[in-house]
């Protein structure tokens, strides 16, 4: 009890911390957010390995490693503190990998990683400053610049990697989206894509496509986990899904046979991964809930327009990029006024014109 009588002293010089309020904070950090995104993408990675075997794993490792490499190189060259530890480069790499075909050659992964990390992110000032989703930019640039390798798909061979099926490694002709587009207007052919049999395969992922496009189920699991963990809000994905459903339904009513039904559009292509993991990228999406809804509706409409009438079979990355460009405007338009805001308060909150220059 001697200490109790002793004089209270401050800790030695320089260890007492002075900072502005608040003095407590949540345990959350950028690193933790990024880690959760990676963890929730693991089902999708596993699914892609199940369907495409080691090809998928190869692409994932390439993309993640190259992205990390470019992030590191940038930090070294720009003489800034290494930002590798916030894991954002790995998230970008992983999402990029899920956006490409399992047969993507290594040099294309390298180019994609360069575009994603350097061109789309670091030159804008790094994490948090980029107006466009890095993975989407990289995918679009790769698609436009190297159409051949980017549209060389592979037939799924479920479980082949574990010896449960014959290894085929066959080069497939097209993704369901491209195939359906090729027969657009032919009602009989289109009907196949509305059959439960096909939709079930598309839901599980037993179709050709890029790593993350195949298994809607795996992405759904990850996406719901992401929402449950409160990393993202459900507004953007929901708005996208509802818009696509309604839009395709109306198009089907207006001209039957032009395109398969809403479920087909939801389950194939990049809608799932785009809606849960790319459109919800915090940096490039609106901050308000209402803005998120507008953002999602925009993506939904653009995806449908491109898929149904455009020359590309898939428009998710394009739609995300276009809506990314609109985010600053959406943020401006969709912001509600502060609590208790009233026209009469304008004099207090805002300077009268001419009062402050």
């Amino acid at each position: 009890m001697k200490r109790e009588e002793g004089k209270v002293r401050l800790p030695p010089e320089g260890t007492l911390i002075l900072s502005s309020s608040p003095h407590i904070r949540t345990e959350d950090s950028t690193r933790k957010v990024m880690l959760l995104v990676i963890l929730t993408l693991i089902p999708a990675v596993l699914a892609s390995v199940w369907f495409f075997g080691l090809h998928a794993l190869r692409v994932v490792i390439y993309c993640m490693a190259f992205c990390a490499l470019f992030e590191y190189l940038w930090c070294v060259l720009a003489k800034t503190k290494s930002t590798l530890s916030n894991l954002s480069a790995l998230v970008t790499g992983l999402i990029l990998a899920l956006n490409v075909s399992p047969l993507t050659p290594w040099w294309l992964c390298l180019a994609g990683a360069f575009i994603a990390i350097v061109v789309a992110k670091q030159v804008f000032g790094g994490l948090g400053q980029n107006p466009f989703n890095p993975a989407a930019v990289a995918r679009v640039a790769m698609l436009v610049g190297a159409t051949g390798p980017m549209t060389t798909w592979m037939d799924p061979a479920p479980g082949a990697v574990f010896g449960l099926a014959d290894k085929v490694d066959a080069v497939a002709s097209a993704t369901p989206l491209a195939a359906a587009k090729a027969v657009a207007g032919n009602a009989a052919e289109i009907a196949y894509y509305n059959s439960w049999d096909f939709l079930w395969n598309a839901f599980l992922g037993n179709v050709g496509g890029s790593l993350g496009e195949t298994s809607a189920l795996a992405i759904l699991i990850g996406g719901i986990a992401l929402i449950a963990l409160r990393v993202i809000h459900c507004y953007i994905p929901l708005a996208i899904f509802v818009t696509i459903t309604v839009f395709v339904w109306i198009v089907n009513l207006a001209s039957p046979g032009l395109t398969p039904g809403p479920l087909f559009h939801l389950l194939t292509g990049g809608v799932m991964i785009g809606a849960f993991f790319m459109a919800t990228d915090m940096v490039t999406s609106p901050v308000t809930h209402l803005g998120g809804v507008v953002f999602g509706i925009g993506i939904g409409v653009i995806v449908c327009v491109i898929r149904i009438w455009g020359s590309f079979p898939e428009g998710m990355s394009f739609a995300i990029l276009i809506m990314n460009a609109l985010v600053p405007l959406i943020d401006k338009m969709c912001y509600k006024r502060p609590f208790g805001w009233h026209p009469s308060s304008i004099n207090i909150l805002q300077p009268r014109r001419g009062e402050i220059k």
């Binding site: 720009a78 061109v119 789309a120 670091q122 030159v123 804008f124 000032g125 790094g126 948090g128 400053q129 107006p131 466009f132 930019v137 679009v140 640039a141 436009v144 653009i302 327009v305 491109i306 009438w309 455009g310 020359s311 590309f312 428009g315 990355s317 394009f318 739609a319 990029l321 276009i322 990314n324 460009a325 609109l326 600053p328 405007l329 401006k332």
Partner: protein, 207 residues
């Protein structure tokens, strides 16, 4: 003309063949007057106005030129039935330059603030290839006077859309920590490039 044709002209000019992002015309004011949404709006208005009027005027002239055959006789010097359509670029430039001068004078009189904000870029509309491009494209695709005017206005709207989008992004970029060597035009060009990439998604909508 059927209504679907009008839709094609509109959508085509605004989105698919966007004069800036797809045809890469009018980059100078696109990069120059896109720092603030407010001035971008003014510039967009000015360009829509100029493009509409220029498209109309050039289209009228072009149609006149197509129908006019000139015969001149000065002494022994004689020209018979000369088709003067080949002078269209020359005439278009003169007409556009003149129009812009008048717009500039009017603007200085009636909206000095906007005039100040647009600065050098207003006279530059004179030599803006977007305006001339619209006029040329009209002539090349043989549109009627009305269709030309609509196309001109829609191209202006497309330009305005791209400009405002770009300005909103640049307003945001102004708040970010862009590495020194990429500041200014460098980052603007990169952004414009990505924006153009994004707009490529619309290709094929209008055949």
């Amino acid at each position: 003309m059927p209504s679907s044709e009008w839709l094609l002209i509109t959508v085509g000019a605004v989105l698919v063949n966007n004069i800036v992002l797809s045809r890469i015309l009018g980059i100078c004011p696109f990069l120059g007057v896109s720092k603030k949404i407010k001035t971008a709006l003014g510039m967009a208005g000015a360009v829509i106005f100029v493009m509409g009027i220029a498209s109309f005027a050039t289209s009228v002239l072009y149609h006149l030129m197509l129908s006019a055959k000139i015969s001149i006789r000065i002494g022994s010097f004689q020209i018979q039935d000369l088709d003067i359509a080949f002078t269209k670029i020359l005439i278009f430039i003169v007409v556009i330059a003149g129009l812009v001068q008048i717009v500039e004078i009017l603007l200085q009189k009636f909206s000095p603030a906007l005039y100040g904000a647009l600065g050098i870029y207003l006279p530059l509309i004179t030599t803006n290839c977007a305006v001339l491009g619209a006029a040329e494209l009209n002539a090349a695709s043989g549109r009627s006077i009305l269709a030309s005017t609509v196309y001109g206005i829609c191209s202006g709207v497309g330009f305005g859309l791209a400009l405002i989008l770009f300005a909103s992004i640049r307003e945001r970029l102004e708040l970010s920590r862009i590495p020194k060597m990429f500041q200014g035009t460098a980052i603007a060009l990169i952004t414009a490039g990505i924006l153009a990439l994004a707009f490529m998604g619309f290709s094929g909508l209008v055949k």
